[in-house]
Amino acid sequence: MSIFSFFSIIFLQGQENGSMLLRSEKIYAVLAVVLVVFISLVLFMLRTQINIQKMEKRLEDK
């Protein structure tokens, strides 16, 4: 989803609204927030999913 946000910005670059958006210094703070939130959530989910698979395998082996 973080990739989505970057594509949205790139897509906007050619548009009037987009170039205005990119000229704003503070848009980088927004991108930083989006990246922090989604990378953390996705990593946490992935780590949990990997642990679940490990545990299921361990229980199957018993």
């Binding site: 949205s8 927004v30 939130v37 959530l41 949990t48 545990m55």
Partner: protein, 260 residues
């Protein structure tokens, strides 16, 4: 029905979050002087706290359920430790969102209240009442995990943790809803704030523009569903761990019964 709901809320989580990202970054929003484009952070920062409240509520409800289940007069249909596991995992995911709320708030604060932060000799922190209250609540929940970790026996650990969890949840009410409204601060909801924008409460006289609401509310729902999804995954892991511990305990018991 349960299976449909289990799929539906995950689909909604992905859909609503994709909407919040794309529309949140591209929609034309009314300009707020002090914030400029950084007011878009509202769509990702505020939902963190909505999700924290939902998850902490789930956590305290499960703790109360656990305490009811261990009552000798109560006929528990399932293992009480599973209710404790649910309370633990909901608090864990709630704390994750709480930390993310603090980080995103810190980044937003840096671009909005730069002068205030430099005044307090800090790059990413200022002594705004909401910030301090949010930090205190996160620390209270960190103490919940420390307390759990200090007990080895599962039943005793669950009992102490459940009681503490009720106390921790009770502190959220003054920390999130009362103190920030009484003390003056930098957040737009506080009296004497110069942050611009306004409150996201519909009835408030300083309410934010509807364009913000169009993105904020669906996005918040998306984050809440995402939180529930992570909570479900964490609970599944915890459930498997309990199963594993039971197998190990059974093995140990059998080994003690029939020593070679």
């Amino acid at each position: 029905m349960k299976r449909i709901w289990n799929t539906l809320y995950k689909v909604l989580a992905v859909g609503l979050l994709a909407y919040a990202i794309i529309y949140g970054l591209t929609a034309s929003i009314p300009r707020i002087a002090l914030m400029d484009q950084s007011s878009r952070i509202l769509f990702y920062h505020v939902p963190m706290w909505f999700t924290v409240i939902v998850l902490m509520t789930i956590s305290v409800v499960q703790s109360i359920r656990f305490l009811r289940m261990i009552d000798p007069d109560y006929q528990a249909a399932s293992n009480p430790l599973l209710a404790d596991a649910k309370a633990h995992e909901a608090a864990r995911v709630g704390l994750l969102f709480s930390v993310l709320g603090l980080i995103t708030g810190s980044i937003w604060g840096r671009v909005t209240w730069k002068a205030h932060m430099e005044e307090s000799l800090s790059l990413y922190w200022t002594n705004d009442p909401i910030l301090v209250c949010a930090l205190i609540s996160a620390l209270i929940y960190m103490a919940y995990f420390l307390l759990r970790a200090s007990f080895g026996e599962p039943e005793q650990r669950a009992k102490v943790a459940a009681v503490y969890n009720i106390f921790a949840f009770a502190t959220l009410i003054p920390l999130y809803f009362i103190i920030p409204r009484i003390l003056p601060g930098l957040h737009p909801t506080a009296d004497g704030s110069d942050a611009g924008g306004g409150s996201f409460v519909l009835s408030s006289s300083k309410a934010i523009d509807n364009t913000y609401r169009m993105i904020l509310y669906p996005g918040a729902l998306g984050f809440i569903f995402m939180g529930l999804w992570i909570y479900e995954l964490r609970y599944r892991l915890q459930h498997l761990q309990i199963k594993w511990e039971n197998i190990q305990a059974e093995k140990e018991y059998l080994a003690n019964q029939n020593p070679i």
